[in-house]
């Protein structure tokens, strides 16, 4: 099997599995108790918190909130500040955000928060000027993703954050760095943001865990209510093994980043060069036109639907995807590609290949050969 869908999820790193093992076994305690098993569990998550804070540039470990994943972190990152103090703060988002951000913004809109959606250029990037123009005194949170999950295009987040603050110094800037963290240096300072979403399983940790990392002093209205864990910002018994696994994976990913960039970069270069040679009319959506994540290749073969191509690849043991699938697994018109003004017929041909930490440079050759074979069969 050739796995080319690492942006959907990636195999667990051995460091994560090892770190988790004790908490799936002997150290099973609930961290919110007073006895020794609880203390051991509590110690594990607080140690993980310190390490993630250091990794992502949080000033204090308590500026890290553990959540149930990237989607929940996005929900908390937007709704938390906007609804804090029974407020109805406004949000400004880009048109190509993940559904976790878009649907949260829509929800906030229903609650009476002003919502503005900023358009993007043909590569899917929001400009600092457009974002600043959308910000006014009602704006509480600006959310622009670090890199897009479908195309891999990198947003100028630091410039956008600066421009947004110029328009209103009180705004908080949130970024969803779920995809970017795999291959780019990600921290609060580098990106110039106030709130940062990360997810465990995209970097080789277990599924169902994430974090929202913040600058100090940000008041959040919780989106999950209950026993008051995470200083009341996120109730619910901690997934101790999950948290420990996420942080071990994140550290391993950062440690492995240079090697990752080289191998994955080589795999993608070979893939794109060989596919172009075999299928000269292939169109790469971003290509050299804009900065993109090293692991993403987003392309279409004119006249061949993504559905057909992906099913044929699956039959040949190659796992790839289109950016957007609905609940049933049917491919949907991507809001990202629509925002980039891609015609619907072209969007329905777009396929996403994403390499990951288990990819070898040779996988790029195999991927190109697999796609070329299917295209050859169909033509």
């Amino acid at each position: 099997m050739l796995y080319l869908d690492h942006a959907a999820t990636t195999p667990m790193r051995p460091e994560a599995r090892e770190a988790m093992a004790p908490y799936l076994d002997a150290d099973f305690g609930n961290p919110s108790g007073l006895h020794a098993p609880s203390r051991r569990a509590k110690d594990a998550i607080e140690s993980a918190r310190e390490r993630l804070a250091a990794l992502l540039g949080a000033a204090h470990p308590l500026d890290v909130v553990f959540t149930g994943g990237g989607t929940e972190s996005d929900n908390l990152g937007l709704a938390g500040p906007c609804l804090a103090g029974s407020g109805r703060g406004g949000v400004v988002i880009s048109a190509v955000e993940h559904e976790a951000v878009i649907e949260t913004a829509r929800f906030l809109g229903r609650l009476g928060c002003p919502v503005r959606v900023v358009p993007v250029d043909r590569f899917g990037r929001a400009t600092p000027g457009d974002v600043a123009a959308a910000v006014d005194e009602s704006t509480r949170v600006v959310s622009v993703m670090a890199a897009n999950n479908e195309t891999g295009v990198i947003q100028p987040v630091a410039e956008i954050a600066a421009a947004a603050r110029e328009a209103n110094p009180a705004v908080l800037v949130h970024t969803d760095a779920v995809q970017a963290m795999v291959s780019l240096p990600v921290n609060l300072g580098l990106l110039g943001v106030d709130l940062l979403t990360v997810a465990s399983h995209k970097v080789g940790g277990p599924k169902g865990v994430g974090a929202l990392v913040m600058r100090p002093g940000i008041e959040l209205e919780p989106v999950i209510h209950g026993g008051g864990q995470e200083l009341g910002r996120r109730s619910g018994t901690h997934d101790v093994a999950g948290i420990v696994g996420m942080v071990a994976a994140a550290e391993a990913a950062v440690f492995d980043r240079d090697r990752f960039g080289r191998d994955v970069g080589e795999a993608r270069s070979r893939f794109e060069a060989k596919l172009t040679a075999a299928v000269p009319d292939v169109v790469f959506t971003i290509g050299a036109g804009a900065d993109r994540l090293v692991q993403h290749s987003h392309f279409r073969v004119p006249g061949i639907s993504a559905e057909t191509l992906l099913i044929r690849l699956d039959g040949a043991g190659v796992a790839a995807s289109a950016g957007s699938a609905c609940q049933s697994g049917a491919l949907e018109m991507s809001h990202v590609l629509a925002a980039m003004d891609l015609p619907a017929e072209e969007a329905a041909e777009c396929v996403r290949i994403t390499f990951g930490w288990t990819t070898s440079p040779h996988d790029g050759d195999s991927a190109a050969a697999a796609v070329a074979t299917v295209v050859g069969d169909l033509r």
Partner: protein, 353 residues
């Protein structure tokens, strides 16, 4: 062979897939997403529901075959829903199952099967295909009560050569027993409704989709005299007797529905009865037409018994002369010609007279 199986999430197509697997074929299961709710997601009631797709997915998993949901919403909206509404507005009683089979299942999906490297498309229809040495023939399903050959009458030799209908050899009871034996979770699932996309309520669908069908208007008799009023043609269908809101000494029936003018015409039973009808868009499965005056059995509605008739060429179509006058022959419905168990072909009823 590699077989693509259209799986609706119902028991028939579940067992069709299972049968293909048991015969040793390489099988791929697909569900067509034909329809979605206003938010673009799969609806929660009616056909194409999330639950139906999940049922199909679980059956595919149990059978160990790959399974995909394919997006045919645009195709379905263009070729089935649009046809349904425009035909209705033209005063006809359309049969969307036939358009769906023609344009979507045995049209677009059949081409897709080839693209996916499949040799055949299998479905869970209750009908049979055989080959008599020269030609493919379409036969009624073993289970007469569940026979679906009516909605397949427009298929030709090309389609019949490319499809498999494994359920046609089984009764519904046998299909359910087979599903139960295999432990498929669809074994006891209720049969799906005809007119799947209107989610069970044809009238509600028309009222929502076609403002013309929800407009009040007159009820007239054959002479054009207004004898009452109604709150929308959506509530009426040809042959209907109840709910007319008018009373005479003897029963009255709907004999015409014209959404364009919001007019419902009623008449006595004898006004509903016709000796013949004109059928257009006729195709014959063998590729050749039967002799003039051929004696056949004709089905003029999906769920009604076939009646004896003769076929006569007229204006490129066929004049169907019934041996006994028929009630409620509705333009827009298919007339399907049978000889014994064999489907000869059929077309669309153009006018009843």
């Amino acid at each position: 062979m590699r077989i693509l199986v259209a799986m609706s999430g119902g028991v028939d197509s579940s067992v069709a897939a299972a049968t293909m697997v048991e015969r040793g074929h390489e099988v791929i299961g697909v569900t067509l997403k034909q329809w979605s709710g206003p938010d673009g997601r799969l609806p929660t009631a009616g056909c194409c529901t999330v639950a139906d797709a999940e049922d199909a997915r679980r059956v595919a998993a149990k059978l160990g075959i790959p399974y995909y949901v394919l997006d045919y919403r645009d195709r379905f909206a263009e070729s089935v829903v649009a046809h349904f509404t425009s035909e209705y507005l033209a005063g006809r009683t359309p049969n969307p199952c036939i358009e769906c089979n023609r344009r979507v299942r045995f049209g677009a999906l059949l081409s897709r099967a080839a693209e996916l490297g499949c040799d055949r498309l299998a479905t869970g229809h209750h009908a049979r295909v055989d080959h008599d040495g020269t030609r493919y023939r379409l036969l009624v399903g073993r289970d007469r009560d569940k026979d679906q050959s009516y909605v397949l009458h427009m298929l030709g030799q090309g389609e019949l050569a490319s499809i498999l209908l494994p359920i046609g050899e089984m009764t519904k009871t046998e299909v359910r027993a087979e599903a139960a034996r295999l432990g498929l979770r669809t074994a006891t699932k209720a049969d799906s409704q005809d007119l799947c996309f209107v989610a069970g309520d044809y009238r509600e669908f028309l009222r929502e989709r076609l403002p013309q069908a929800a407009r009040p208007g007159p009820i007239v008799d054959a002479t054009g005299t207004v004898v009452g009023s109604h709150r929308g043609t959506a509530d009426f269908t040809i042959g209907q007797r109840k709910g007319l809101g008018v009373s005479f000494g003897e029963p009255r029936y709907v004999v015409g529905v014209d959404a364009a003018t919001s007019t419902v015409t009623i008449g006595r039973r004898e006004e509903l009865a016709v000796e013949a009808c004109l059928v257009t868009g006729v195709s014959f499965i063998s590729g050749g037409a039967p002799e003039e005056g051929a004696e056949v059995a004709v089905k003029i509605r999906y769920r009604s018994a076939a009646v004896a008739a003769t076929l006569w060429t007229e204006n490129g179509g066929r004049r169907v002369r019934f041996s006994e006058a028929q009630l409620a022959v509705s333009p827009g419905q298919a007339a399907v010609f049978y000889r014994g168990d064999e489907v000869l072909g059929g077309g669309t009823i153009e006018e009843a007279a």
